[in-house]
C-alpha cells in the first residue's frame, strides 16, 4: 500500500451544549498520514487545539474497531463517511486526498439531541429495547443449549440481524429520521429464533409504540438506511417487521 501525507481543511460543527446554537468552524490539519484512521486525524486536531488554548472537539468513540457503535460522525453528507459498510472509526485517511475539504457534523434527528459538538444523546434506542427487545428468561431458567436445535439458515439470518451495533446511522441517513432499520433488526433477530416466539406479538407492538413516542419519523422506504448501515443490515428486515406488526395487530389480545 502506498503511503502519502496530506493537508486538509475541516469544517466542523461546534455546539457548546444542547441549549446553545451551534455553528461550523474551520480548521486546518497538516501532514496527515494516509495510514491514520479518521479519528486519529481528529486526535491530531484536538492536540493542536489544546496546544493553542482552544476547546477540543467532543465526539463519541470507544472501541475504535467498528463494533461498539459509539462513533457517529456525519462526514461529507454521509453518516460514517464515504466507505461502504464502515464505521467512522474504521474510516482511514487514504479515503482522502491532499487539499480536500471535509465537512463533519453530528447525527441530526429530533430524537438524538446534541450533547456537545459531535456527540448526541441516543438513549432513545435503549428505551426502545426496554419496551420489548429481549426474551423474558431469568438467569437459571434455561434448558440445555442443544435441546433446541435451530436450522443453520435461521440461526445465520438471526445473527445477521443481531449484528446491528446501535449506532444510529440509519436514523441520521433518513430524511424522516426513522428508526425502522434499527427496530426491525432487533425484531428480526428475536423473531427468527424459536426462543423469541412466545413474546412475538407484544414485542413488536410495544417497540413500535415506543419508537413513535420517542419522536422518530415514519418509514417511506427510501432505502437510505440500508445504504449507510455499517453492518449491512438488510431492508428486508423492515418488511419482516411490517409483517410481524400487522400480524400482531390483527390477533393481539391487547
Amino acid at each position: 500500500m502506498e503511503h502519502y501525507n496530506m493537508n486538509l481543511n475541516l469544517k466542523v460543527w461546534r455546539q457548546k451544549n444542547c441549549k446553545s446554537k451551534g455553528e461550523f468552524k474551520l480548521y486546518r490539519v497538516e501532514n496527515i498520514s494516509s495510514e491514520m484512521s479518521f479519528l486519529e486525524m481528529f486526535d491530531v486536531l484536538n492536540e493542536q487545539l489544546i496546544h493553542d488554548g482552544e476547546d477540543p472537539i467532543t465526539f463519541d468513540h470507544d472501541c475504535r474497531e467498528g463494533i461498539c457503535g459509539a462513533c457517529s460522525m456525519y462526514i461529507n453528507g454521509k453518516p460514517h463517511g464515504p466507505w461502504q459498510a464502515n464505521t467512522t472509526c474504521q474510516l482511514h485517511m487514504r479515503a482522502f486526498n491532499d487539499g480536500d475539504t471535509v465537512v463533519v457534523e453530528p447525527w441530526r434527528a429530533d430524537a438524538f439531541p446534541v450533547i456537545k459538538d459531535l456527540m448526541v444523546d441516543r438513549s432513545a434506542f435503549d428505551r426502545i429495547i426496554q419496551a420489548g427487545g429481549y426474551i423474558s428468561v431469568n438467569t437459571g431458567n434455561a434448558v440445555d443449549g442443544n435441546a433446541i436445535p435451530i436450522p443453520k439458515d435461521d440461526a445465520d439470518a438471526s445473527f445477521a440481524a443481531a449484528m446491528c451495533i446501535g449506532c444510529g446511522a440509519c436514523v441520521a441517513a433518513c430524511k424522516n429520521s426513522s428508526a425502522m432499520l434499527f427496530l426491525s433488526a432487533k425484531v428480526s433477530h428475536l423473531a427468527l429464533l424459536p426462543q423469541g416466539a412466545p413474546e412475538r406479538k407484544s414485542r413488536v407492538m410495544n417497540m413500535v409504540a415506543q419508537m413513535d413516542k420517542e419522536g422518530f419519523g415514519s418509514c417511506t422506504n427510501t432505502g437510505a438506511c440500508e445504504a449507510t448501515c455499517p453492518k449491512e443490515i438488510s431492508i428486508t428486515n423492515i418488511a419482516r417487521l411490517n409483517k410481524e406488526y400487522l400480524g400482531a395487530g390483527f390477533t393481539s389480545d391487547k
Binding site: 498520514s33 479519528l39 477540543p56 463519541d60 461498539c68 459509539a70 435503549d126 434455561a142 436445535p149 440461526a155
Partner: protein
C-alpha cells in the same frame, strides 16, 4: 526496594466455614480466601447448600450498586434485579451495550463436551490452571469450570445466535492452549452477541423498575462507613456534577487496565480508576504485573497510533505463523518459497504447533523479530498465512461436490468462501486498517497488550479486602493465574455475574437485612465528595503546557519497554524512577481545557491517566518482587536454556496482594497457593 515493601505475611486460613467472622476491622492485615471445606469438586455444591439466603421481601429492601455493565456487570445487575434486589448500575459510555466486552471476537469456553472429544469439567479446570502457569486458585477455577455449561444454556435461552451446524446444533472451534473443541462462538463477534444478550436482560430489568441505569456516569470514589463499603461518588459526565449513591453492597465490574500501556487492544475508555479508588480505600491489588500480551494483533504503523486491533486467536486454528529462514529477507511473502520459510511455532512446539498458549506464542514472535527475522517495513511483524488453509478447505468443498479434476483456481475460490464464512469480519477489519487483502497476501501480526490477569484481590465469594466491596470480571485477579487461555474471559465474566455473585452476595447481605439505607447526607459521603471535588479542582488548576494524551503516551512507552513482554530488574528499577518523575511532571504541567461542570472528555481522561501513572509504579514493583518467570510475566533473568519461562514454586507460589500504604508505598501480603489436586510441573507444549 526493601523499604518500599514491608512484608506482613499472614498466609491463608483455609477451610474456614461460611459463618466465619468477617474481617471488618483487621481486613487490612489479613487475606482470607474463604475457600469452603470439602473436596475440590464438592466445594461449590457445599457452599450453595449452606450459604445464607435473603428472603424475597428483604431483598426488596437491599440496595446494590453495580459499577460497570460489561459482561460481568450487566449479567450481575440483571440477575440481581431478577432476584428482587434494588440495583443501581453505572457505566461511562452512553449505553451499557457499548462496554468493552462488545469487542471480544473469538469465543467463549464451556465444558459441554458436545464434540465427544474428551472434554470434561475437570479438563477445563486443568487446562485453565496449567495455562495460568500454576498461579491461580484451584477452588475458584474449578467452580468456573463447573458453571461454564450453564452459561451457554442461559445465553441460548436469551437468543444469543451462536454458530450452528447444519443439523441445527451448536458448533465449536478450538482455541490456543487446549486440545479439545470447547469454544462456542458467533462468527468473530462473540463478545458482541453475549453482551447484547446480557444488555437485553438488563434493559428488561430496567423496564421492570428493578434496576436504575446511570449511563455516562463515572465512579470516582468509594464511600466507606464503619469499615464497610456503603456508597460511591459518581460524576455525571454530561453535566460534570458529582452525585452520591448509597448501596448495602458495591460491585466493581469495571474491566481491565491494559491501557496503562497506552497502546493496547482495549477500548479507548477502558481504565483502572474504579479499581484504583477501591485500592486506595483498602482493597488489596492482586498480581498487578500479570499482563497478557496477545500474539496476533495488527502491528503499529506510526506515531499517530491510538490503539491496536486484535486479530482473534481463532485465526491460529487455520493460519500458519512464519518468518523467512534468512535474516533481513526483503522479498515479498509470495516470492519466498516454502522451503525458505520458518514455521517457528510448529518447529519449536510440535504437539501444539500454532495453538500454543498466548504467552508462549508472543515471546516466540518477539524472539524472531529481535533476532532480525521480522517482516514488513518496521520488521516488527511476523506472517499469519492462510494459503494452506484455503487450499485445504477448497479441496474439501470440491470433494463434497464430487468433482475429480478441479483446477487450482476453483479450489482456491471455494476455499476462500469457507475462510470467509469463518473469519470474514476479521479479514475485512484487517483490510480496512492496513489496505492489504489477507485472502491474497499473508497478514502481518505482532504481539500487543490485551488483557490483565491482575486486578483487585478477591476471596472465594468475590469480595475484596474491604467488606461489602466486590469485584467481578476482568477487574478482579481471580481465575487466570499468570496467563489467561483464549475464550476464558467471557466465560469468567458471565460466570461471576450470572452464577456466582447471586449466591455469594446473599451470603453476606443476609446479615444486613436490619441495616437501613444510610442517608447520603452522612458525613462520610460529604467527606468523599469533597475529596473528589478537590482533586478535580487541583487538576483543572494546574493549567500547564502538556496535554493529558502526551503523558499517557510517555507512560505507555515506559511500561511497554520496561514492564512489557520481557522484564529485568535493572529496567524495572529505572521504570519506577521514571514513573515517579512523570507523576511529578503530570501534577505540575498538565493542561486540561474546558470547565468542570460540562461535558469535558479531557478532564475524564486526566482523572484516568493520573491513576494509571500510580498503577504503573505498582506494576513495576510487583514485577521486580517476583523473581521468577511465569505465564505472561517473563523476567529475563529466569529462563530455561531454551528460553522458556522458569518458575520458582518454592518461593513464589503465591498471589502477591498489595496493600496501599501512602504515596509510592505498598505492603505485600502473600496468599499461598495450595495445589491439592493438580501437581504443578514445568508447562510443556512440545
Amino acid at each position: 526496594m526493601d523499604d518500599r515493601m514491608s512484608e506482613c505475611f499472614l498466609g491463608v486460613i483455609k477451610n474456614k466455614n461460611l459463618s466465619a467472622e468477617r474481617w471488618a476491622t483487621n481486613h487490612r492485615n489479613m487475606l482470607d480466601a474463604k475457600i469452603p471445606a470439602g473436596t475440590l469438586d464438592e466445594k461449590w455444591t457445599e457452599y450453595k447448600g449452606h450459604c445464607k439466603l435473603v428472603n424475597p421481601a428483604n431483598k426488596r429492601k437491599l440496595e446494590v450498586i453495580v459499577v460497570g455493565t460489561g459482561l460481568a456487570g450487566a449479567s450481575a445487575a440483571a440477575s440481581l434485579g431478577e432476584l428482587g434486589y434494588q440495583v443501581k448500575a453505572f457505566c461511562f459510555q452512553d449505553s451499557p451495550r457499548r462496554a468493552h466486552s462488545i469487542a471480544a471476537q473469538g469465543g467463549i469456553n464451556a465444558a459441554k463436551n458436545y464434540q465427544n472429544d474428551g472434554d470434561s469439567v475437570f479438563r477445563l479446570f486443568y487446562d485453565t490452571i496449567k495455562g495460568g502457569d500454576y498461579r491461580a486458585r484451584e477452588a475458584n477455577v474449578h467452580r468456573l469450570s463447573e458453571v461454564s455449561a450453564n452459561i451457554i444454556d442461559q445465553c441460548v435461552a436469551q437468543g444469543v445466535p451462536f454458530a450452528r451446524e447444519y443439523g441445527g446444533l451448536l458448533s465449536n472451534r478450538s482455541f490456543g492452549g487446549t486440545q479439545v473443541q470447547r469454544t462456542f462462538y458467533a462468527a468473530g463477534q462473540t463478545g458482541q452477541q453475549l453482551l447484547i444478550g446480557a444488555y437485553q436482560a438488563l434493559e428488561r430489568q430496567i423496564a421492570l423498575g428493578n434496576v436504575k441505569m446511570y449511563s455516562r456516569h463515572e465512579m470516582l470514589e468509594i464511600v466507606e462507613i464503619d469499615g464497610k463499603a456503603r456508597g460511591i461518588i459518581a460524576r455525571d459526565l454530561v453535566t460534570g456534577k458529582l452525585e452520591r449513591h448509597f448501596g448495602h453492597a458495591i460491585l466493581l465490574c469495571t474491566g481491565g487496565y491494559g491501557n496503562v500501556f497506552y497502546l493496547s487492544t482495549n477500548a479507548m475508555g477502558s481504565n483502572v480508576t474504579a479499581a484504583w479508588k477501591a485500592h486506595k480505600k483498602g482493597a488489596a491489588f492482586g498480581n498487578p504485573c500479570f499482563t497478557q500480551i496477545h500474539p496476533t494483533c495488527i502491528p503499529v504503523s506510526g506515531d499517530h497510533q491510538s490503539k491496536l486491533t486484535l486479530m482473534s486467536e481463532s485465526l491460529r486454528n487455520d493460519g500458519r505463523i512464519w518468518v523467512p529462514k534468512a535474516k533481513g529477507d526483503n522479498r515479498k511473502a509470495s516470492d519466498i518459497p516454502e522451503e525458505e520459510r520458518d514455521y517457528y511455532l510448529e518447529r519449536r512446539y510440535p504437539a501444539f504447533g500454532n495453538l500454543v498458549p498466548r504467552d508462549v506464542a508472543s515471546r516466540a514472535a518477539k524472539e524472531r523479530c529481535d533476532e532480525g527475522y521480522g517482516v514488513g517495513t518496521s520488521k516488527q511483524a511476523v506472517y499469519l498465512d492462510f494459503g494452506a488453509a484455503i487450499i485445504r478447505y477448497g479441496k474439501i468443498e470440491i470433494s463434497k461436490e464430487g468433482k475429480d479434476n478441479a483446477s487450482q483456481e476453483e479450489i482456491i475460490a471455494l476455499g476462500k468462501e469457507v475462510v470467509k464464512e469463518k473469519y470474514g469480519n476479521l479479514f475485512d477489519m484487517y483490510e480496512k486498517i492496513t489496505g492489504e487483502n489477507p485472502y491474497e497476501v499473508p497478514m502481518r501480526i505482532y504481539p500487543a497488550v490485551h488483557y490483565t490477569m491482575g486486578g483487585l484481590w478477591v476471596d472465594y465469594e468475590l469480595q475484596t479486602s474491604v467488606p461489602g466491596l466486590y469485584a467481578l470480571g476482568e477487574a478482579n485477579f481471580s481465575d487466570h493465574g499468570a496467563n489467561r487461555l483464549g475464550a476464558s474471559a467471557l466465560m469468567q465474566g458471565l460466570a461471576d455475574g450470572y452464577f456466582v455473585i447471586p449466591y455469594t452476595l446473599g451470603n453476606s447481605l443476609a446479615d444486613e437485612i436490619y441495616a437501613k439505607a444510610i442517608e447520603t447526607s452522612h458525613p462520610a459521603f460529604e467527606e468523599a465528595k469533597k475529596e473528589v471535588a478537590g482533586r478535580i479542582q487541583k487538576l483543572m488548576g494546574i493549567k500547564g503546557k502538556q496535554s493529558v494524551e502526551s503523558f499517557h503516551k510517555r507512560l505507555g512507552k515506559i511500561m511497554w519497554e520496561k514492564c512489557g513482554m520481557a522484564r529485568n530488574a535493572k529496567g524495572l528499577q529505572e521504570a519506577i524512577t521514571e514513573i515517579q518523575a512523570l507523576k511529578k511532571e503530570f501534577w505540575s504541567d498538565v493542561r486540561i481545557p474546558g470547565e468542570i461542570e460540562e461535558m469535558n472528555p479531557e478532564l475524564d481522561k486526566a482523572n484516568r491517566v493520573a491513576d494509571f501513572i500510580e498503577l504503573g509504579e505498582l506494576m513495576c514493583i510487583d514485577a521486580l518482587n517476583r523473581n521468577e518467570s511465569c505465564g505472561g510475566h517473563f523476567r529475563e533473568e529466569y529462563q530455561t536454556p531454551d528460553g522458556e519461562a522458569l518458575r520458582d514454586d518454592a518461593n513464589y507460589m503465591y498471589v502477591a496482594a498489595w496493600e496501599y500504604a501512602g504515596e509510592s508505598k505498598w505492603n505485600l501480603h502473600k496468599e499461598t497457593l495450595n495445589y491439592e489436586v493438580i501437581k504443578p510441573t514445568q508447562r510443556n507444549y512440545k
